[in-house]
Subunit: 271 residues, 2 copies
DNA sequence: AATCATTGTGTCAATTTGACACAATAGTAC
DNA sequence: GTACTATTGTGTCAAATTGACACAATGATT
């Protein structure tokens, strides 16, 4: 039990030495729950495109989703929030767990070992990292412009990628991404979306392009507006958006109270 | 790694001795992933009432949801299916993971230890069971009449309970049950339900009472029928149900092909 | 001033939904 | 057997929602 209560800062310092990876493997079990990881699908929206934040792993050609482990003193949600914060600088963002991935084939232990050895790190089966992992998938919707992508000690790049240009990811991360997208599309049917994805005020066409990007299909401009306004979660501002090359559209903002209520109660309910 | 490949039958035998619980605590880590459990909310339907299968834990006044652990060689889904099978005798049933529960307060280790000691079992912090658990919630919909409830080695009763008469459950199991119900209600909006909950053939009023039990509210008889038939997943049989005290209703069965398609593609889709 | 892409606001028919009426049927009471 | 009752099968109809589309207004560009 003692290990649960080890000073968090001390462990932090522990992890920040020269041989970060080697230390994680030796001492990860002091801080984190074994066999359990989480992966975050972080969506952003920019120039009409839905984006995903990806990491380029050291010494690997494939990219991966940002992920992490769950400390003995954290809930899953806290751990996911921490991971999100470490990669983006943001915190307190809408973050939703959507599936747990537990296939036996998702942890390729022999390959992990050989990769570690290539890095000159001693590790044997059952060591931290060289074990089976069960991963909880989270997805987040964040404001593209507020994010400052940051790589971690296991990766040497952290970048936005167009959803249509993701390519092959490590392990089952393509599957995780697919499931996140599927879940979000379903969610769109009974929950509002966009609060963290768009700037504080936005135009109706901008909101529509977001929905189109998520759904992957075109929507009718006028019917979209009628429906969105019908939800009663938008407030039209007196100003119009200036600078565009055409007729200036109105600006809208979310009615936070109504938005939160819609998140809890759903939008139309079905039955 | 060796432990992963230990003959499963051997371990089975290991667990079936006199001091099952003591052995589980000593040797559970050989078979199962540490810190990870799962809980199943098993719904049934009988006499117009939605039921949940509950276990009465030994030496405890509170009841609990059937749960279990994940073997090193199992996926979560396989483990959940096994748990369901052990309590009901059924297998291959629709089983859906709906949330992971990871609050720090959900594992009361001091209390677990004192309960074990009351049973005359030696255990210390960090031992199997006397550790933090993160639990994956699954829910299942099963045919009430096909189930033969069976207690396990940690419990001395396994019974159906009316959803309205569940009472206080151990730990956060009331919360888990609530979340399962909430998830199932949402699911009702875009997926068919009832295949495993009802007998092979059933009447429209029976199906309606199932929906009413899940949603917790009355529905209009005629609109319900119109909508259900509109989904195109039902086939009306030539026979009618005899024996009732009133006009004999038609019998229906699910069109398995259409049902599966509806499960995958959703019922109306929203956008 | 004409052009052009884009936005604001409707309209209208088709479809879906919600509320309700009425006839048919199978037991029950007499 | 006949009346009664509760329940089922089938529709109807108005209201609300949805999908498809038209037209005027605006703001930069030429």
């Amino acid at each position: 039990m003692k290990i649960f209560y080890l000073c968090s800062q001390k462990l932090n310092a522990l992890m920040e030495g020269e041989h970060n990876l080697a230390r994680l493997i030796r001492e990860g079990n002091l801080r984190y729950l074994p066999h359990l990881s989480l992966d975050c699908v972080i969506f952003g929206f920019h120039e009409g495109q839905l984006k995903v934040l990806l990491l380029k792993m050291k010494h690997k050609s494939d990219w991966s989703l940002p992920g992490g482990f769950v400390a003995h003193t954290e809930t899953l949600e806290q751990a996911a929030d921490r991971v999100l914060n470490e990669r983006t600088g943001l915190s307190g963002i809408f973050l939703k767990q959507f599936h747990v991935f537990s296939d036996l084939s998702r942890s390729d232990i022999p390959q992990t070992l050989s990769e570690l050895r290539r890095d000159g790190i001693e590790a044997k089966v059952g060591d931290w990292l060289a074990q089976r992992y069960i991963s909880v998938g989270f997805y987040a919707l964040v404001s593209f412009s507020k994010v400052v992508p940051r790589a971690d000690m296991l990766s040497d790049a952290c970048e936005w990628r167009d959803l249509s240009d993701v390519g092959k990811l490590i392990l089952d991360h393509n599957q995780i991404l697919g499931k996140a997208l599927e879940t979000m599309r379903l969610q769109l049917n009974y929950q509002p979306i966009g609060y963290n994805l768009l700037p504080p005020s936005f135009t109706m066409p901008e909101l529509q392009r977001l929905y189109e990007a998520i759904l992957g299909k075109k929507l009718d401009r006028r019917n979209f507006q009628r429906r969105m306004l019908g939800f009663g979660i938008l407030r039209r501002l007196p100003e119009r958006k200036a600078g565009g090359a055409h007729k200036a559209p109105y600006l809208y903002e979310f009615d936070h109270e109504a938005y939160k209520r819609a998140l809890l109660e759903g939008l139309h309910g079905g039955w």
